[in-house]
Symmetry: C2
Amino acid sequence: MNTLAFALLSFLARRSMSGYDLMLAIQPLWQAKHSQIYPTLSKLEAEGHVDFERVLQHDKPDKKVYSITPKGTEALQAWLHEPSSDPNIRDEMLLKAYSLWLGDHDAARRLLEERIAYFRKRLQRLEGILDDVQTEHHSELDVPDILSPVFTRVKLLERAITTARLELDWCYEFLKQIEQSAKKPR
Amino acid sequence: MNTLAFALLSFLARRSMSGYDLMLAIQPLWQAKHSQIYPTLSKLEAEGHVDFERVLQHDKPDKKVYSITPKGTEALQAWLHEPSSDPNIRDEMLLKAYSLWLGDHDAARRLLEERIAYFRKRLQRLEGILDDVQTEHHSELDVPDILSPVFTRVKLLERAITTARLELDWCYEFLKQIEQSAKKPR
DNA sequence: ATGGTCATGTAATTCGTTACATGATTAT
DNA sequence: ATAATCATGTAACGAATTACATGACCAT
């Protein structure tokens, strides 16, 4: 079982859903296309880690609703005890920022503005989700309880929001310095 | 040309070095193993984006020192103007944190302590490098100048340091909440 | 009509990791 | 002796993206 398989189990442990739902839900934590998710679900099913029920829909296409099995839950719990591999960040923008000295102020500006747009959108989405979760489960969140699925979810949402804000701040400051640098006579 | 190829050009644009040196230097910005770097360098050489000189060493094995060509610099500059793909983060630890509600306090503790150790080490390394760069180029950094390779490098180092500190803070707070949660009778 | 969402799959290709291979020097 | 660093490469495998394929429903 690879990390994607455990990622799918992580979501199915919270609620049963279709491959399509998983594809959408999984994105913030582990990006994968449907072409990778469907075969992985088949494997998990063959191994007995998940099972599924065919749900017929009149307006939309039929779907397979997957659920985690006891065996799947055990595998997921065992995985929690294993050491994790180092975080892996691949960001083309950072690579370009590193070589901006070879470019012009215009390229620099566009590079950062693109990324600012991306993080603004992301921030809004994340803040909306956190808001929903907090109003829906206000009572549960007074006291930290790791054994609550809501608590761990909120922890990750908060983290995503703080990092997004930080990324935005970095972009804004860099952009400001680019404008300063552009105005300076050389 | 893929992103790795541009990553290699980004480093060679600053100074000529061997595939081995590139393998070490590239890690903070784009992780790649030597088995991927050597063939990519061969391709870049075949395309005329880089060339190399064989340097004989008496104490160590001989090496090929690669340099970027004018064609390579042009390709790199053109790449700066292209839109960047979204950042891609793969972090097993976050996935496990999301499912910690299924585990025990001990698994949670170990998960975070592992990550704390990782970021402490990383922070130290980054702060050391930034220190060296700043003392070596103090005068250049008074006024922001994007067209200076030192400036863009410092920007990325600062960013890496801030995010590492943030990650650490998040881990510490989470760990504290885990201890609180463990003490509470259920 | 044109494009978007819902829904599931396979095939081809590229990217990335692990393993195989070699060999000298230096430190513990 | 044993492991680590320097140095370069190939082969096999697994992971991930892109493209191919189908089809209904809904909004503009």
